[in-house]
C-alpha cells in the first residue's frame, strides 16, 4: 500500500483511530454494562444508579446463581442441543451440498430440487400444522424436537454449495481419472478443502441452536425441559399480571431481581463469546468464498 505521510494524512489517521475505536467500544458497552449491573447490589441496580462501574461491588448474584438448579439444567439442555444440532447439521449439510453443487447434467433434476429447497425456506404452513406434525412424530418434550424442529438449514446448504462450486475443477478431474468414486471424492477431495466453509456453517449451527428460544417455548411441555434462551426469555419477558392470582403476583414480585437477571444474561453469553473469536479466521474465508464468486 502507498505510504502517505503528509500532516493532513496523519490527522486523518488519528481521527480514523478515534472513530473506529469509538465504534468498537459502542459494540461492547452494553455487554460491559450488563456485567457491571450483575456485580452491583440490587438496590443500586433497581434504582438505576449503576453506570459503567459496579455500585456496591459484590458477587452475591453469582453465588445465588450457582445454587439455581433450573438455570444449569437449562444450560445443560442447550449444550446437548448444540452438540446434537451442530453435529447433525454438519453431516446433512455436507451430504446435501455436495451433490447439489453439481450441475443439472451430472445430477438430473438438480434445479428442481434446488427450488424446492428455496421454496421451503420461504413457505410454511404456519405454527399450528407444524406443531401438529412434530407432535405426531412423537417428539414433543424431546430434545430431538429442538434439534430437528426447524428442518434443514437451507441457507447453510447454499453457502456450502457455492463454496464447492468455486473450487478448481482440475482437482476433481484428476481424481476422476484415477477412478475415484463419488463418496471418496466428497470425503477425500472436497471436504479437506472446505475447512473454512464447514467451520462457518458449524459456527452458524452452534449460534442458532444456542440462541433459539421460540421452539423451546412451544415444543417443550415443562420448564424443566426449556433450553437456556427460553429460560431467559421467560425471565426478561413481561409478566401478564391480569391472569394471575394474589399469591402468584406476590411471589412473582419477590422474584424480580435485576442483578441476578444480569448475571444470568451474562453467563448465557459466555459460550458464544468464547467460541467465535477462535473461528473468526475460518468464517471470514467461508462466508467470502461461499457467497462472492470471483
Amino acid at each position: 500500500m502507498v505510504k502517505d505521510n503528509t500532516a493532513g494524512s496523519r490527522l486523518f489517521d488519528i481521527a480514523l483511530i478515534v472513530i473506529l475505536v469509538g465504534i468498537a467500544i459502542l459494540c461492547i458497552l452494553p455487554i460491559w454494562y450488563t456485567l457491571a449491573v450483575s456485580l452491583s447490589n440490587n438496590a443500586a441496580a433497581s434504582s438505576g444508579r449503576v453506570g459503567l462501574w459496579p455500585v456496591g461491588f459484590n458477587l452475591g448474584s453469582y453465588q445465588e446463581l450457582m445454587g439455581d438448579r433450573k438455570f444449569f439444567n437449562s444450560f445443560w439442555i442447550s449444550v446437548q442441543r448444540v452438540i446434537l444440532g451442530a453435529g447433525l447439521n454438519f453431516v446433512v449439510i455436507l451430504l446435501m451440498a455436495y451433490p447439489l453443487s453439481k450441475n443439472a447434467k451430472e445430477l438430473p433434476y438438480r434445479n428442481v430440487l434446488m427450488w424446492i429447497l428455496v421454496f421451503t425456506m420461504l413457505f410454511n404452513g404456519g405454527l399450528i400444522p407444524w406443531y401438529m406434525t412434530v407432535k405426531s412424530l412423537g417428539l414433543i418434550n424431546n430434545i430431538w424436537a429442538l434439534v430437528l424442529g426447524n428442518s434443514v438449514p437451507v441457507f447453510s446448504v447454499i453457502l456450502v454449495i457455492n463454496f464447492f462450486r468455486n473450487l478448481p475443477k482440475e482437482l476433481e478431474e484428476a481424481a476422476l481419472v484415477d477412478g475415484t468414486g463419488p463418496w471418496r471424492m466428497m470425503i477425500q477431495i472436497f471436504v479437506p478443502l472446505a475447512g473454512p466453509v464447514i467451520a462457518t456453517v458449524t459456527l452458524f449451527s452452534i449460534v442458532y441452536h444456542w440462541n433459539e428460544f421460540f421452539n423451546g417455548l412451544v415444543l417443550m411441555s415443562a420448564a424443566d425441559h426449556y433450553p437456556l434462551q427460553t429460560y431467559i426469555q421467560q425471565m426478561v419477558v413481561v409478566i401478564d399480571a391480569n391472569t394471575m392470582t394474589a399469591e402468584q403476583i406476590q411471589r412473582m414480585s419477590e422474584l424480580s431481581n435485576r442483578t441476578l437477571n444480569a448475571a444470568k444474561i451474562f453467563i448465557a453469553m459466555i459460550p458464544v463469546l468464547v467460541i467465535y473469536p477462535f473461528l473468526q479466521r475460518f468464517f471470514i474465508t467461508g462466508i467470502t468464498l461461499g457467497s462472492v464468486k470471483e
Binding site: 500500500m1 462466508i287 462472492v292
Partner: protein, 296 residues
C-alpha cells in the same frame, strides 16, 4: 467428464436431508389450506368448512392489515438500507487503518453483537433505554427530560432499525472487506502518483473496486423486504408501539395463537410467503442476468 453412474449415489447422499426436509417443512406446509377454510380444530383440516377467499377479503377489510404491511415494509427496507450502507462505510474506514493489530481487534469486537440472541439483547436494551437507564441519565446531564424510549411509537422503528444495524453491521463488513482485498494495489500507486488525496483514492479506486459486491448484496437482500425481524420485535414491543411496530410476523403470532383466529393468521402468513417468494425469484434473475451470479 461426467460419470452417469454417480447420479444414484448423489441421490443417496441427498436422501437424509430430503427426508428431514419433508417431515419438518413440506408436510406441515399442507396447513396452508387453512387459509381457505374456516378452520375448526374439532373437525381438523380434512373436514373444516371451505370458505374460498373469505379470509383474505376479511383480512383486507381490516385497518390493521394496512398498518402492519406498512410497518413491515418500512422497518424491513430501512434495515436493508442500513445494513448495506453502514457496513460499507465501516469497511472503507477500516481499510484505511494502517495499524494491523488494532484492525484485527476492532474486527473481532464488532462481530460480537451478531452472535448474541435477541432474547439476551432485548433484556439489555430494555434496561439501557429504560426510564432510569444509562441513556436517560446521560440525557439528564443535558437537562433533557427522560424519554420513554420503548413506549414511543414515533421512536420505535428507529430503535428497532438502529439496534439491528448495531447488531449486524460488523458482521456484514466481512464481504466488503473480502472484496476490498481483491483490488489491485497497483491502482492505488497509480492514483498516488497522479497526486490523488486519500479521500479521492477512496472515492475513485476503492469504491469502484467493490461496486459489484454492493450491487450484488442489494439484489440479494430483495428477498427480505417483508422480514422485519420477528424475534427482535417480539421481545421488544408492547401495545403502545403497535401502531408503528406491529409487523406481519407478530400479528400472525397473536392472531393465531393468542386470539385463536387460525385461518386469518394462516392467510396473512401465506400472503407474506408469496410476496417473499416473488422477490427471491426476481433477485435470482436479476443477479443472474446482470452480475452473472447464480445465488443457488
Amino acid at each position: 467428464m461426467i460419470n452417469k453412474g454417480f447420479a444414484k449415489h448423489y441421490y443417496l447422499m441427498l436422501l437424509p436431508g430430503m427426508i428431514w426436509l419433508t417431515l419438518f417443512s413440506i408436510v406441515p406446509m399442507f396447513g396452508i389450506v387453512m387459509a381457505f377454510q374456516d378452520y375448526n380444530p374439532g373437525l381438523g383440516i380434512l373436514h373444516s368448512e371451505w370458505v374460498g377467499l373469505e379470509n383474505f377479503k376479511y383480512m383486507f377489510s381490516l385497518n390493521d392489515s394496512v398498518t402492519i404491511l406498512v410497518n413491515t415494509l418500512v422497518i424491513a427496507v430501512l434495515k436493508i438500507v442500513g445494513n448495506l450502507v453502514f457496513p460499507l462505510v465501516f469497511a472503507l474506514l477500516l481499510n484505511e487503518l494502517r495499524l494491523r493489530y488494532l484492525k484485527r481487534w476492532i474486527q473481532t469486537i464488532v462481530y460480537l453483537p451478531h452472535f448474541l440472541s435477541w432474547v439476551i439483547l432485548s433484556g439489555i436494551l430494555l434496561d439501557i433505554f429504560g426510564y432510569t437507564g444509562p441513556v436517560n441519565q446521560i440525557l439528564s446531564v443535558f437537562h433533557i427530560k427522560p424519554v420513554l424510549f420503548f413506549g414511543r411509537a414515533d421512536l420505535f422503528p428507529a430503535l428497532i432499525v438502529g439496534s439491528d444495524v448495531w447488531k449486524e453491521f460488523g458482521f456484514n463488513t466481512i464481504i466488503y472487506l473480502a472484496a476490498l482485498t481483491g483490488i489491485n494495489p497497483a491502482l492505488y500507486e497509480a492514483a498516488a502518483i497522479d497526486g490523488a488525496t486519500r479521500f479521492r483514492r477512496m472515492l475513485h479506486v476503492t469504491l469502484p473496486g467493490i461496486v459489484s459486491a454492493i450491487v450484488l448484496l442489494s439484489v440479494l437482500s430483495l428477498g427480505n423486504v417483508l422480514n422485519a425481524g420477528f424475534e427482535q420485535i417480539f421481545n421488544l414491543y408492547n401495545p403502545l408501539v403497535y401502531s408503528s411496530g406491529d409487523i406481519i410476523d407478530t400479528w400472525v403470532y397473536r392472531t393465531g395463537l393468542v386470539n385463536l383466529q387460525f385461518s386469518l393468521a394462516t392467510a396473512m402468513g401465506l400472503l407474506k410467503s408469496v410476496v417473499s417468494f416473488l422477490m427471491i425469484t426476481i433477485s435470482y434473475y436479476l443477479a443472474y442476468r446482470f452480475a452473472n451470479y447464480r445465488i443457488f
